[in-house]
């Protein structure tokens, strides 16, 4: 795996982005994100009638002078978001540069979160979920994130259902969850995502696809080896065979996307062969995951 290097220009671009929470989520620490909780920021939120016990300093005396009733001003609190990045490290990701592409995206998203004083945690999953970096905060922790990403290697078979069921309790509270995967757990991914949603996580998925996976160019007789299961099959890659595969794979992508849309899960599909900035743009274009600050 090549090192992940972001140039200064690209970093500036990342810093101009923000992790987008469709639902306003509640964080633990103050940050640069509004929350439903009224807080002590300088941004005015609303008025409400004074009730005993309210702090006198929030009474708006100008309103009292005009109307003769006591109203207290409420301010929106700016709190941080906990962004949990779930990186698929199954063997199927070790194809066509998918894993490298996913790692780079994880790093980019993580940097965006850290730059916005959000709490970022990095998790790897295949058959189980492993915490690589819990609760990073601040831009200076990006190196911890990168180190973890660079040291991790793909291995194991995808089982999203058991991974998310068993590992999720270890996540703290209600978080924004970003899953980077190729979804090669066709039977398990719906239930896995539903599990996350049930726990009121805001789920975003980035479907990483390799070009060779989307449009195979090889022709001839091949012994196809399943990277995850190790099973092998002989097949003649004829044009019609490849076309049938292409249609089947397209249908699979559509199914994943439709499932995501149906469950209000943000879905973005990126091509592993595209350059990183292009991939980030694709994620932006998908909407719901990143936004300009």
């Amino acid at each position: 795996m090549g090192p992940m290097a972001f140039d200064a220009h690209f970093l500036k671009t990342l810093e101009a982005l923000n992790l987008l929470a469709r639902r306003t989520v509640v964080g633990d620490d103050r940050a640069e994100r509004r929350t439903p909780r009224k807080g002590a920021s300088i941004e005015f939120a609303d008025y409400r009638r004074y009730v005993p016990g309210d702090e006198i300093r929030y009474i708006d005396w100008n309103v009292y002078a005009r109307h003769g009733s006591l109203f207290v001003k409420e301010f929106s609190a700016e709190e941080n978001v906990h962004a949990a990045i779930l990186l698929d490290v199954s063997r199927s990701m070790d194809f066509g540069g998918k894993f490298q592409a996913a790692r780079e995206l994880a790093a980019a998203v993580g940097y965006i979160g850290l730059a916005n004083y959000d709490t970022v945690s990095l998790h790897a999953f295949d058959g189980e979920l492993r915490v690589l970096q819990p609760f990073l905060r601040g831009k200076s922790r990006i190196f911890d994130l990168l180190t973890s990403l660079e040291t991790i290697l793909p291995g194991g078979a995808t089982d999203m259902r058991s991974a998310f069921r068993g590992g999720l309790p270890r996540l703290r509270g209600r978080s924004l969850v970003l899953i980077l995967t190729d979804f090669y757990d066709l039977a398990g991914y719906p239930e896995a995502i539903r599990t996350l949603l049930a726990r009121r996580f805001e789920v975003h998925v980035i479907h990483v696809v390799a070009h060779e996976e989307l449009l195979p160019t090889a022709r001839g007789r091949f012994n196809l080896l399943d990277l995850e299961t190790g099973r092998a099959r002989d097949v003649s890659l004829l044009p019609r065979t490849v076309e049938a595969y292409r249609q089947r794979f397209g249908r699979f992508c559509q199914e994943v996307e439709q499932f995501s849309r149906a469950h209000e899960v943000t879905y973005a599909r990126v091509l592993a062969d595209d350059p990183l900035d292009r991939r980030v743009i694709e994620v932006l274009r998908a909407g719901g995951i990143l936004e300009h600050r």
Partner: protein, 609 residues
């Protein structure tokens, strides 16, 4: 089994890389995929085709090896006894005799029909057969398997005397015993019965028997001193019915006289006409020209309907004697005698230094005699007699041992026993030969005739009685015929070969006919080639000088277009090869191989292996 090109069998070695490539392309390569799930859903149908694929895999190898075998056989050219079609070689002989110019119904000549038939025959042969084309003139297209190209090269042969069929067939079959000669002619050969019976000679006959009337011989004559020309001709009928024609006498293309003539079946009649300037005043017959006697209207064979003649000038030449001091009395007596006999127009005397001044006025019709004086270094056009000119290599009492009896100046002159006191020994074609060498030489080329005698008349006692005859001969010869390079008359088909060197050494000779001109380069005074003579007048032009030539058929055998006694029928022409025998096997094999390889490559590129 034998092979035309056994070295082509090396191509079979290509089988090794073909087999290697076949198994290379058919090998199963490993390819990791992220999941087999989708592939397994679609390769179920693929697996059902495995048997077919295996069959296709081996069929592909079989096809490639078949293609290689096909290609090898195309190159090696196998010959399998009983299976392969025997390749033949045919020599196409086109009869170029005058009779082939006869016009058949439909307006086409027998020659044109023969060409068409020969082309059709060449195109009907099978692939691998070879043909060569030849005609009686000796022109030959070598054996070639390019039948279409050979068919295109079949052309009307030049008119030539009727060839000896046996000789032509032998020449054609010189390439090998397998060669079959095919003669395209209007007349079955009568002298090649054995060849016909053995099938080595086949005859393709063109044309049908036809009646004909034509001139079968003719001659123009003039007695010395006479100022008229007599044309004597023989007219023959080769018809079974009485024929009527009109005979037209023309001079330089202008009709002078017409008369009707009727010929009974097979009749042969002699006719003569006199071209007398006094009878046809104003026609300038005395200046010479072209006379023709033609039959009207033309019949099927036009070439024997016209008899052509080149008439020499009837004006006797002027003789100038260049001498120092007093001319030889015997010479003057002889010349005066010739003048009185009308052989010489005038005898003039002049000192040798006058030659250069007079040169501009002298032409071909003049004869110059240098009596004991040296001639100028460069002689121009005209006749020259040089008698006893001073010079080196002089010998005393040379003994004459021989002379050229066929040379025109020596006609009827006997030099036996002639004693010479002294003479120079000369260089050149000898007219009179002494032990010591030539004492008289003669040479002629276009426009110039020279006789040089190495001794003076006064030094020869015994030549004196023969001198008038010698001078008569010389004047008659040098005034006209000695100045020509070509004869005045040729027979149809004769090569137009000059008898003497042309007027120039290097340049171009042009044979001008009514409808075309043939240009022939000249090297060392000789034409590089000699076209065959065709009936009519031909103007041979070299630089500023021209000579008319008359060409006549005068061949009763060629003019007779009637049916002749049948010769042995011989074997018929070989039948046309079937369509599949005409396909070039090698080309077809290579095309199939290329198509197969392209198909294989295409399938390989598309993943079908």
């Amino acid at each position: 089994m034998t092979f035309d090109h056994p070295q082509g069998l090396w191509l079979l070695a290509l089988g090794v890389p073909i087999i290697v490539f076949h198994f290379y392309k058919g090998r199963v390569r490993k390819m990791p995929v992220p999941t087999l799930l989708f592939w397994e859903q679609i390769i179920v149908e693929e697996e059902r085709r495995t048997a077919l694929r295996k069959l296709r895999h081996w069929a592909s190898l079989l096809l490639c090896l078949c293609a290689l075998t096909l290609l090898t056989s195309a190159v090696a050219g196998p010959e399998v006894k009983g299976l392969s079609r025997v390749k033949r070689r045919y020599a196409l002989i086109l009869d170029g005799s005058a009779g082939m110019a006869a016009v058949e119904e439909g307006g086409r000549t027998r020659g044109a029909l023969a060409v068409e038939r020969a082309r059709a025959f060449a195109r009907s042969l099978g692939h691998g057969d070879q043909v060569s084309i030849q005609d009686a003139s000796g022109s030959r297209v070598p054996f070639t398997a390019d039948l279409e190209g050979a068919a295109r090269r079949v052309a009307l042969p030049p008119v030539s005397p009727r060839a000896d069929v046996r000789e032509a067939a032998a020449a054609a079959r010189a390439a090998g015993d397998d060669v079959v000669a095919v003669l395209f002619t209007d007349r079955p050969p009568g002298e090649a019965g054995d060849l016909l019976e053995s099938g080595k000679l086949r005859v393709a006959r063109v044309g049908t028997p036809r009646p004909n009337v034509g001139w079968t011989s003719g001659v123009s004559s003039r007695r010395p001193g006479e100022k008229r020309i007599t044309l004597s001709l023989v007219l023959s009928s080769f018809s079974e019915v009485e024929e009527g024609r009109e005979v037209v006498l023309s001079f330089n293309g202008k009709p002078l006289r017409r008369e009707a003539v009727r010929l009974k079946p097979g009749e042969r009649t002699e006719r003569s006409w006199v071209l007398d300037p006094s009878v046809f005043p104003g026609e300038k017959i005395e200046e010479g020209g072209r006379a023709s006697v033609s039959l009207e209207p033309e019949d099927a064979l036009a070439v024997d309907d016209v008899a052509s003649f080149v008439v020499p000038s009837l004006v006797p030449p002027t003789v100038i004697v260049f001498h120092a001091g007093k001319p030889d009395s015997l010479l003057m007596v002889a010349l005066t005698t010739l003048q009185s006999g009308g052989v010489v127009h005038e005898v003039l005397l002049a000192p040798p230094e006058e030659y250069d001044r007079m040169r501009e006025q002298l032409g071909e019709g003049w004869i110059m005699v240098f009596d004991r004086v040296a001639p100028p270094a460069r002689l121009g056009q005209g006749g020259y007699l040089i008698l006893g000119a001073p010079g080196p290599r002089s010998v005393e009492r040379p003994t004459i041992v021989d002379w050229d009896r066929d040379a025109a100046p020596n006609r009827l002159v006997d030099y036996a026993g002639v004693l010479l006191r002294r003479s120079r020994i000369l260089d050149g074609p000898p007219l009179i030969l002494a032990i010591e060498g030539p004492v008289a030489v003669g040479s002629a080329r276009g426009g110039q005739a020279v006789v040089e005698v190495g001794f003076a008349l006064e030094d020869s006692e015994y030549l004196k009685p023969a001198l008038p005859i010698f001078l008569f001969n010389f004047v008659e010869w040098a005034a006209y015929r000695g100045l020509r390079s070509f004869r005045t008359e040729y027979r149809v088909g004769d090569p137009l070969r000059p008898e003497r060197p042309l007027w120039i050494d290097e340049g171009e000779l042009v044979f001008e006919r009514a409808d075309r001109a043939d240009r022939v380069p000249v090297r060392r005074g000789r034409p590089a080639s000699t076209p065959a003579a065709e009936a009519g007048f031909v103007r041979a032009r070299v630089a500023e000088r021209a000579e008319w030539i008359a060409v006549n058929l005068f061949d009763a055998d060629a003019s007779d277009l009637r049916e002749r006694p049948e010769s042995p029928p011989g074997l018929p022409l070989p039948p046309a090869a079937p369509w599949h025998a005409r396909i070039p096997y090698a080309a077809a094999a290579v095309a199939v191989v290329v198509a197969l390889l392209l198909l294989e490559w295409s399938l390989f590129m598309r993943g079908v292996v």
